[in-house]
Amino acid sequence: MSGFFTAFVDMFDTATIASIVAGSSALMFATMGETINEKAGVINLSVDGSMMLAALAGFVIAFQTDIVWLGFPAAAAVGMSVALLIAFASIKLSLNQVAVGFVLFALCTQLSRFLGTNFVGRRPVGVPTWEIPGLSSIPFFGPVFFDHNLVVYLSYLTVIATFLFMYRTRKGLELQGIGERPEAAHSRGIPVNKLRYFYTALGGALIGIGGAAFSLDVKLGWSDRLTRNLGWIVLAIVIFGGWHPLRAAFGVLLFGALQAYAINLVPEFPSLSQVLPSIPFPAMILALVIVNWKRLLKWLDRYPFLRAILRSDPPTAIGTRFKVN
């Protein structure tokens, strides 16, 4: 048992925590993206595939032009196109969002493998490190938060901006409205379907940027199925986060910490070295099971404080279509 404990204690040094923060940027962007489009009522189930294809697109553009920043808009465009296909299929053609999303997941994954063959193992220029003067010399917080690069800083800003937009602005209230009560929003003159197109595209763009953040920064380079399973984790974290940007961001960090812990455990259990790195995936889903367990939640109703922490109620109109009569 001591192995579990030492591996846990080892996580609490500044360098490890800083690497968890830096490594979570890709998931941060994608999780905010999916939170936004689900909040608007549209599920983008293709994340695992569209993130991978966007990661490839960002990588290829950055590699060919030698300008790393050009990779991000390219990846955003790919993520946005896939998301718009889902919005179109659902809103205009009345197809099932989940079905279209799943097929696009499969298609984008295979497409990224096919188109990426010749780029396996190539190394482009990465995102340059840029420590923020002043802030980075704060003890502990400096190295943990302010000694990375622009992509990582933008990932925090995206989280804060998503939160402020959703809960502190008029437009954000409208976003919640079209996901919760589209009929009511419509009767107040809000163009429900137009906004759903917009927010699905925005969410897709962020998912794409998440892919590029992975291939251009978190794990610089391209390999077959580079971002595999990250998209599924994004979908799980959005639910775990109760469709709230800040709680979802906490979920992303928790997942990063789990991964670091699993890697720390490898020296303790060498025979499990192949299995341990994949443990965080089922563990995250287990966490999801807990926040969704209806009986547990009913029991927690007696303890309002805990209930508030663990509640995870989806937007009422998620996954449904809205038709103007």
Partner: protein, 356 residues
């Protein structure tokens, strides 16, 4: 649930051919060779030539698990469930079959029967778990299933590198080959097993009958169409949902057995071959109709087997096959959706069009 008309089939197929040619030109190769290789590598060129039965046998043995999983998925889809846990159910079936094959000694017919039963039970229990999470815990079956897929994959890797490691070398290439008595009987020189084919056809036939001629099937469909109404009508919806997951899990588990004892002859890390997810595409393309599963899953098996040779023979990524499968399903869905949209618009215009 509308069915296909000829025009709905022409569009997706032409989109697939166009995108295949486009992609291959983009990759800088002559588009004919790879497409011919896919056919040649799966059923021979010219097709079904005498003396090439090994290839056809492989393709058929890939078809069997896809067809079994598809048959199971028709049941869960009709019950309104997205059984993404299907991969895990195939894997747990294979693991259970591998356990029996390794640990039990019995005369061949009995042992083969036991591996098949074990596979069915392994898949059934794993499917039941998804169902219980859904009905008792309120956990969306997509995420419960996905989590259990991850668990099953990790478990396979663990078994292969630790308790069931090959004697002498611990590697991720798989366990030792199973004893002969546990392998599915096959015709000489090929993997082709008539028993496996018979089971797959029986499963598809059974599912077809289930939804054509039984009250149970009708009630399952009712649960899928409207869970709440069915509950109010007195159908024990939870029991029906669990039943659907168990049927699907058992069929997928038998598919896993066929993968383990009829194709690889050992347990390997990627034992499911991704056929569970492929079966989801098959069923979406078949519009949840059992009969169509037979030709569509055979076509998908051909692409899967044929494209696996692209790497070696033409230095092209074998993912091309997966791309073509995805494009086919996506364009078929969009084609049907667009046709339905047009019909609706025409009806509205004919009746004066109140919403334009």
């Amino acid at each position: 649930m509308s069915s296909y008309r000829l025009t709905n089939l022409v569009l997706p197929i032409s989109v697939v051919v166009a995108s295949a040619v486009g992609l291959l030109v983009l990759a800088g190769t002559n588009p004919w060779d790879p497409l011919q290789l896919i056919v040649e590598g799966s059923i021979g060129w010219p097709p079904f030539e005498a003396g090439k039965s090994a290839k056809v046998g492989d393709t058929v043995m890939v078809w069997v698990p896809i067809a079994l999983a598809s048959a199971g998925l028709i049941v869960t889809f009709n019950a309104g469930m997205w059984n993404i846990g299907i991969e895990g159910q195939i894997i747990m079936g294979a693991i259970a079959a591998a356990f029996v094959a390794r640990e039990v000694s019995a005369p061949r017919p009995l042992l083969v029967l036991l591996t098949i039963l074990a596979g069915a039970v392994g898949g059934l229990l794993w499917g039941l778990l998804v169902g219980v999470l859904r009905t008792a815990g309120g956990v969306n079956e997509i995420f419960g299933g996905l989590g259990l897929d991850f668990v099953a994959i990790s478990f396979t890797t663990y078994l292969i590198i630790d308790p069931w490691a090959r004697t002498g070398v611990a590697s991720t290439s798989g366990t030792d080959i199973f004893p002969d008595a546990a392998l599915l009987p096959s015709s000489s020189g090929t993997r082709l097993s008539l028993l496996a084919i018979a089971i797959a056809l029986l499963a598809i036939g059974g599912v077809w009958i289930l939804f054509r001629g039984t009250l149970y099937g009708l009630k399952l469909k009712a649960v899928g169409a409207n869970l709440r109404s069915s509950f109010l009508m007195g159908i024990p919806t939870n029991r029906y949902l669990l039943g659907a997951f168990m049927i699907c899990g058992a069929l997928a588990g038998i598919g896993g057995t066929v993968q383990a004892t009829g194709f690889h002859f050992k347990l390997i890390p990627a034992i499911s071959g991704g056929y569970g997810f492929l079966a989801i595409l098959v069923v979406l393309l078949a519009r949840y109709q059992a009969f169509w599963v037979i030709p569509i899953s055979f076509f998908f098996a051909m692409i899967a087997v044929g494209s696996s040779q692209l790497d070696l023979r033409l230095d092209l990524n074998s993912a091309l096959g997966g791309v073509l499968q995805g494009v086919l399903v996506l364009s078929a869905m969009f084609g049907l959706g667009w046709a339905a949209y047009r019909t609706k618009r025409q009806l509205q215009e004919a009746s004066g069009g109140d919403s334009g």
